[in-house]
Structure formats: structure tokens, C-alpha cells
Amino acid sequence: MASHRCLLLKGVKSMSGINPVVGAKDVKPKKPKKQKSSALYKQEHRVAFLFVLAPVIGFLLFSVYPFAYSIYASFTDWNGLNRMNFIGFDNFVKLFQDPYFYQTLYNTVFYMIGIPIGLGLALLLAIALNRGLRGTTFFRTVYYIPVISSLAAISIMWAWAYNGDFGLVNQVLEIFGVQGPNWLENTSTVKPAIILMAVWKGLGYSMLLYLAAIQSVSKSFYEAADLDGANSFQKFLNITWPMVKPVTFFLVITNIIGGFQIFTEINIMTPTGGPEYSAASIVWYVWQKAFKYYQMGYGSAMSLILFIFIFIVTVIQFYLNRKSDYSLD
């Protein structure tokens, strides 16, 4: 934060003719005295309204309207072209009897096994980077490269790496005398393969957030622990872990919400949803139904279920967030 304040002051000083109150705390303006300057306030209201108008219109037009429409469409036999007929809960009844729906939902949740694995590794890496060894910046950059890389390109690359005969993964395994399977064509290996790739791609992001959190822990805690003769593990358990808990929480929630939306990897690595649909995710199935078979009503019903899952996770986040001392500011 210190650097930001610096920048702010620089910005302030470069303005001529204005006398900044340096170091003054954020002074909220006093309650408007209505009778005195209401015209001025009205003008300010108008300007503020105009300034926020674009995102508000965008929100109504591209989020609220489609969302409301989607709820309505869930109860129709909509195919995107013909008239929509109201069919009540038929889509949902059909959905709960659809084995592919359960399969894809199961797969989607299965992929989330990668979340604790990734977070554990990320935390270990962050602790290692926090030792202040030389080259920390270099390592940080290297671990972050997969994060910024295009998911489509990464998926194409990993699809090739998982190739049974000539892929990188099996070639490396062969050095250790292991004969690897044809990863993406095998019902039992396709999901672990995709999880491994997702962990690889997301590691740098979680690591970065953990590192920032660890670095913000006051050194005096550790010094005090040293005086008390605590060992590294005790220090981790009693200082580091509680201090990074908010970050863990944030990462778990955002990863779950993101995990529900997994699509690109699936569609590129297993264009047919994998052997016996063993790789297909829920969003992939929605996409398939809506844009390949034009069952838009059915697809909408499925996305509504998906929304409910995401909504529940978000509400949990909001509730727990308010309870912990960790706040949005």
C-alpha cells in the first residue's frame, strides 16, 4: 500500500493550483445542506448517473435480461427458432432422468479434486519462495507463465503431451521404466490427466496469492516463536496457516466457482466428451445440447441448475466472509 500512497502524492503534487491536504485521512464530505446548494448537488447526481450509466445498461442488457430469459426458457421447449411452448417442469423431470446429466455433473465435481492438491502445492512453493533465496523473482515468473498462457493453446499442447505413443508424458515415464497408457482415450486416466493439467496451469496463481499473504505476516510473530523455541512445523501450524486462511478460503471458493465452468480443456482435449463421456463437463454438455442439438430450453434448464450451485457457493462465501475478520476493504 505504501507505494500506492506515494504514487498518489506524486499525482497530487503535479497538479498546480491545488493545495492538497497531504496525509489527511479520507474525509467524507459533510451531509449536504439541502437548502444551500441543492442545484449543485443535482448537477453532481446527474453527472454521476451519466458516468455509471454504461455499466448499468450493459448489466441490464447482457446479464439481467438474458438471465431472466434463461429462467423462463427453462420451462419451455425452446429450440431457438420456433415459438416457445410452455411445458412446465418437463425439462427438469427429463434432466433428473438423464444419465448424461449425472455423468457430466459427476465429472465436473470430480475435477475439483485438483483444488486441494493445487492449493497444497502452491502453499509449499510460496513458503519455499519466502525464504528470500536468490532468484525468487525468476522462479515466481516461471511458475506464473502457465497462468497467463492461453487455455486453448495449453490444452492443445497437453493433448499432444498425453499422446500414448509419442507424447512427452509417456516418454518421461519410460525413462523410469513405466509404460504409460493412452491417457485421453482411457476412462480411468482421462480425468486424472485433465486434473494434472489444471493443477499445472493454476499453480502459479495460488502460489502468488499465498506468497503475498505470507509476506504480509509480521516478522515479529516468527521472532517471538523462535524465542519460545518453536520448530518450523509448529511455526507453520500456529502462525503461517492461520494467517493465510483467508487466502485459502478465497482460492477454494473461486476455484469451485471456476471449476463448475470448466469447458475449454474438455472441448479441445476430448472433443467427443472422452470415452463413454468420461471427460465431459456440465458446461460442455449444456453447450452440446444448446448449440449442436438446438435444445435451448433443455440447455437453459441445465444452466439454471448450474447457477443454483454457483449461487450456493457464493452465498456461503459471503456469509463466512462476514463472520471472519477478513473483510473486503
Partner: protein, 278 residues
């Protein structure tokens, strides 16, 4: 004690190095594959450094019309969205942070709720909406929604602006500056570092987007780069032309990678901050 620390340091170093080989190895292998010829891919034992190094795949790639279209369309979409969207977002952030407006915080909270409605939830009606006005197979459905701003960016800029004292704006008003003038002359320079970081993050997001272009774009001359390389994979895997497929992926990765390496300090700081702030 000191000796023990040294040994731990060395072990940590080895682990970190092995880890970075795992992170960067697949990418290097992708580049290496793209520099082989079609048969070199299947050489045993596998070659990490292609012998001979061939640029055949890249020559072939750049002769494909689709690649040129892909690059052009991706640049059009990502630049128009991020440039216009950044202006609308930062003006809104200014209003939310510093101007008086009835129900301001409520409007902001409701906008923030849109984070809860991820794209896959609304993609079906949005598609039909755009198809009704004839925008399918054009870049417009990818561009227009972004022009109205991005709530994540508004959120972070609003946070950033919380540090700017009101007295500053009041003083500018006393000096007779209009609101637009205050925004462009006073606010924008102050929030520029935050804007830059958010701009880059958004740019990379749009550049890498795959689902929306996949839904909207059909004809080859309309497709974006991510869809083009995915199609390359589908088409050329049968011919086992892996060098060409990998070359396509390298080309799509490179611009973002370069942007990242140039601005890595700002990007990493801004991302780290976003986590701490939640």
C-alpha cells in the same frame, strides 16, 4: 544452526528448480516440436533439440489464410473491448468512489452481483438475442458487451480511488473544473497504474477467450486466433502434422507472453494485491 539452514536452503533450491523444469518443460517441448519436421516428431529416442531445426511448420502456418484472419480478428476484438471498456469502467469507478448520487452503493452492489452470473449460464439466451439482430458470425457479440465496462475493473479502481481525498476534488471544483475535466486531468493520472494493470489483465483475458468466439463465429474469415488453433488441432491431428499444430499454439501464446514478460512486475503486484483484497 547456520549450517542446517544452508542445507535446507540447498534442498529448497533443488525442489524449486525441479518444479520450474516441470512448469516450463512442456512449453519448451511445444516449441521444440514446432521446429521439427513431420517425421522428426516420431524419432526415437525423442529429440529435445530438433536436428535439423526446421521452420517449415511456421512457413506453412503463415501461408494459411485462417491464421491471418485469426490474428486480425483477435486484435480487433481485444483492443476495441479493452480500450473503450477501460474508459467506461474508470469513469464509472470514479463516480462510484467519489461522486454523490442517490442509491449509489446499492447500484454498485447490484452490479457486483453480476459476478455471480458467469457466462455459461447466460450464453444461450444471449446467443439467441444476438442472432435475432443478425450479429451471429460477426465480431460484434464479442465486442459490444465489453464496451459497457467490466465490473471487476470498476471494483478494483473504486478500491484504489478510496485513497484519494475528497478535498482534492472539492478544491478542483472550487477552481471551476468540470467533472469531465476532473476525471481526465486529476483522477485518471492518479489511477493510471491500477488502470494499466487491469487493462493488461483484461486484454489477456479477451485474447485468450475461447467459448464465446466458438459459439458465435462460423466462417473462417471471422474466427479468432484461439478458435483457429483449436481447428488446426482438429484438422491436422489426423495427418499427424504435430509441428504445424504446435506452431499455431506458439503463435497464439507469444503476444501474451511478451506482454507478460514486459509488464510482469505490475501484473504480479496487481494480482497479488487482488488476492489480499479479496
Amino acid at each position: 544452526m547456520k549450517k542446517q539452514k544452508r542445507i535446507t536452503d540447498i534442498i529448497v533450491y533443488i525442489i524449486l528448480s525441479l518444479g520450474s523444469i516441470l512448469m516450463i518443460g512442456p512449453l519448451l517441448w511445444m516449441i521444440s516440436t514446432s521446429l521439427k519436421d513431420k517425421t522428426g516428431v516420431f524419432a526415437l529416442p525423442p529429440q529435445w533439440i530438433p536436428d535439423p531445426i526446421q521452420f517449415e511448420a511456421y512457413t506453412k502456418l503463415f501461408q494459411l489464410d485462417t491464421l491471418g484472419y485469426g490474428i486480425k480478428n483477435t486484435i480487433i476484438v481485444s483492443l476495441s473491448v479493452t480500450i473503450v471498456g477501460t474508459i467506461t469502467s474508470s469513469m464509472a469507478a470514479f463516480a462510484f468512489a467519489k461522486l454523490r448520487m442517490p442509491f449509489k452503493d446499492w447500484v454498485f452492489l447490484i452490479l457486483l452481483a453480476s459476478i455471480m452470473i458467469p457466462y455459461p449460464i447466460i450464453m444461450i439466451p444471449q446467443f439467441v438475442m444476438f442472432s435475432k439482430i443478425g450479429w451471429v458470425d460477426t465480431l460484434l457479440p464479442l465486442i459490444v458487451p465489453g464496451l459497457f465496462g467490466n465490473i471487476t475493473m470498476i471494483f478494483f479502481l473504486r478500491q484504489y480511488l478510496a485513497n484519494v481525498p475528497y478535498s482534492l476534488i472539492e478544491a478542483a471544483k472550487v477552481d471551476g473544473a468540470g467533472y469531465l475535466q476532473i476525471f481526465f486531468k486529476l483522477i485518471f493520472p492518479v489511477i493510471r497504474p491500477a488502470v494499466a494493470a487491469q487493462f493488461i489483465l483484461w486484454f489477456m483475458g479477451v485474447w485468450n477467450d475461447y467459448l464465446a468466439p466458438l459459439i458465435y463465429l462460423n466462417s473462417p474469415e471471422k474466427q479468432t486466433l484461439q478458435v483457429v488453433i483449436a481447428n488446426l488441432k482438429a484438422t491436422y491431428a489426423i495427418q499427424t502434422d504435430y509441428p504445424l499444430i504446435m506452431a499455431g499454439s506458439v503463435v497464439s501464446l507469444l503476444p501474451v507472453l511478451i506482454v507478460f514478460l514486459i509488464f510482469q512486475k505490475q501484473i504480479i503486484e496487481s494480482v497479488a494485491l487482488s488476492g489480499v483484497k479479496g
